[in-house]
Chain length 362, copies 2
């Protein structure tokens, strides 16, 4: 309520606040608005400072930093990918992110991004499909029914009206979980015994499996004319989901080619295989779907601008929802050059006041 800006404070959106924020806005509205913000940023693609993510690989997984800037705001996401985590009760992917003011370099938002990444990935898929799937697409196969699957279903329903789902997972309990979670929302859902069965008659095929290895979730004979493939799971070197022959029959749309060439399905193709940048379709520079028989493939690996958009969107919701905490993250001495003096004043204050109990327990 103070009008004096507290320069030390950065708004922080915890996991609990993020859930409440999403629910308060409404999941459908959140996904729709987020898809619009992402598309808005894709339309000004050329204003962004772009770089492939900075990855630190280990035997168990990867930790990545994904920075970008539009010259006014700067954002980055920290995200890990550790497929074995699930066995230890941990998330395969966790993330958090920061949005900053380019003018002074000060962070303006620290946010959990595990939930937010799930939402932005789904919103990006649906925003792409808006331009790439056949008009009137209503049915979608979802192969891989893990943590991302329900978010994909919700986004495609909220944004495209897709209400018929065909689920398949090598682990039937994953499909059961997805089925149960999506009850009461107006979906017609079929759990399938095989990937082949799942894709039968589907307008859209979403592949979103989690194994960190070359896999063939879809073979060429499974993909009929006119289908839009939303390939989410192939997202790091050595991890793909589609048979190469499918790629050769498809028009391939990507986020940022230098990153997708290394991480996406197209790592299976020659380095100069033609791909279309999604932003150019959104901007009307290149046609997305040209006819009813064309196979379109969104080879999605997730790009920093989508996280930037998501952070920007969440930041815009803070005032109306109040769903954040104030984090004492930045040193703010009374006199900017007197950082050391701040320590001295703290010392004086500590000597004047009785010592409090330790405040955290590890």
């Amino acid at each position: 309520m103070t009008s004096i800006p507290k320069l030390n404070v950065v708004p922080f959106v915890s996991v609990d606040h993020m859930m409440k924020l999403v629910l308060k806005v409404g999941i459908d509205t959140f996904l729709r608005e987020l898809a619009d913000v992402i598309e808005e940023d894709f339309l000004r693609w050329e204003t962004f400072d772009k770089t492939p993510r900075v990855a630190s690989h280990s035997q168990e997984g990867v930790i990545e930093l994904m920075p970008t800037s539009d010259g006014t705001l700067y954002g980055f996401k920290y995200v890990n990918g550790h497929p074995k985590n699930t066995r230890e009760g941990r998330q395969t992917v966790t993330a958090f992110g920061v949005l900053s003011d380019v003018g002074n370099g000060y962070p303006m938002l620290l946010s959990e991004m595990t939930i937010l990444t799930a939402l932005r990935t789904a919103a990006t898929s649906a925003a792409a499909a808006r331009h790439l799937s056949r008009d009137g697409a209503r049915s979608m196969a979802i192969i891989g029914n893990g943590a991302q699957s329900e978010f994909q279903a919700r986004a495609f329903k909220a944004i495209l009206g897709v209400d018929q789902l065909r689920l398949y997972d090598i682990d039937p309990s994953a499909s059961q979980k997805c089925y149960a979670n999506l009850q009461g929302l107006g979906f017609s859902i079929t759990i399938c015994d095989s990937a082949e069965q799942a894709v039968e008659g589907a307008d859209i095929i979403t592949t979103v499996t989690a194994d960190k290895q070359y896999a063939t979730i879809l073979t060429d004979n499974m993909v009929g004319p006119g289908v839009h493939i939303n390939a989410i799971g192939g997202d790091c070197p050595g991890k793909t989901e589609l048979h190469r022959d499918i790629l050769l029959r498809s028009d391939i749309f990507v986020e940022y080619p230098p990153q997708t060439r290394v991480e996406g399905e197209i790592q299976q193709l020659d380095e100069d295989h033609p791909v279309i940048e999604l932003w150019q379709v959104m901007a009307g520079k290149v046609k997305g779907r040209k006819d009813e028989r064309q196979i379109t493939l969104f080879d999605s690996v997730g790009f920093a601008i989508e996280d930037f958009s998501a952070l920007r969107y969440v930041r815009s919701k803070l005032v109306e929802t109040g769903l954040f905490e104030e984090l004492d993250l930045l040193a703010d001495p009374d006199e900017p050059r007197d950082l050391y003096g701040m320590l001295l004043r703290c010392e004086a204050a500590m000597q004047a006041a009785p010592e409090k109990k330790p405040e955290g327990v590890l």
Copy 2:
């Protein structure tokens, strides 16, 4: 106090907690122990995954991410540099950092690093000088008396016994502030009218000015035989402090050549000008100071491993001090693949409980 690990929680060290932690440990002890941890990590230099920092430059300044990993722990620092910030009452440099477990990618510590960077920069300078300055060095010129100056003075006293200071700044009030802040600690301090006067008789010359431009704080005639130059302020492209001729007369020691060639004083030299990696001196592979007349120059730009060491050191102090908060940063659904179900359960809980007031005000 619970024995069940809370997978959603990341320990957070705020600015307030960092100050209390430093004071509880004691500034001298903190600097000495931190210098030892930095040297410990420099001794195993080859085990680290190293990369130049990832910088996003703008007209006003720079925002950088500095990641590194030793294969067991991963750390990164976010740091900005905006020289004009001081005029708006903000810090030129603010920073925070994260330490993570490479095995599962989960963050183990989020910490303010504005204060911590000041301490690690000073500890690194003193750790380097331990190997490079003349035995028995007692007097140091400090040119540039801004936010870093007192930390340098404290580190050189705690680690090398330097107790005679000669201060110079183009702004006399900065020298006055530094002088006042260092009273009562056993220093003999002279405020000088010029850089020339400051360096007279000094065993060590520390340059730590803040302008983002090519400057000549030291000219060749000012540097006598046997001096150790601790050059801190030249730390980004286009920002240097020393005249090129000094570099040509000195043996130059650097942290990580691919970064220093771009950011350090040696950006003034040919790309193949010989430099010595500091870690090799610490490891005894290369001799640091060879004789009493040699001019040694530590061309310091700050490297990710120093931040990694600092985060590792702070993490080691959390249990004994309890000076941290628990941050709800990571989504932790009961069933790892059921991230969406976590949202549903939050929704059910919100419907069952009366709505609380908004929790933050922007």
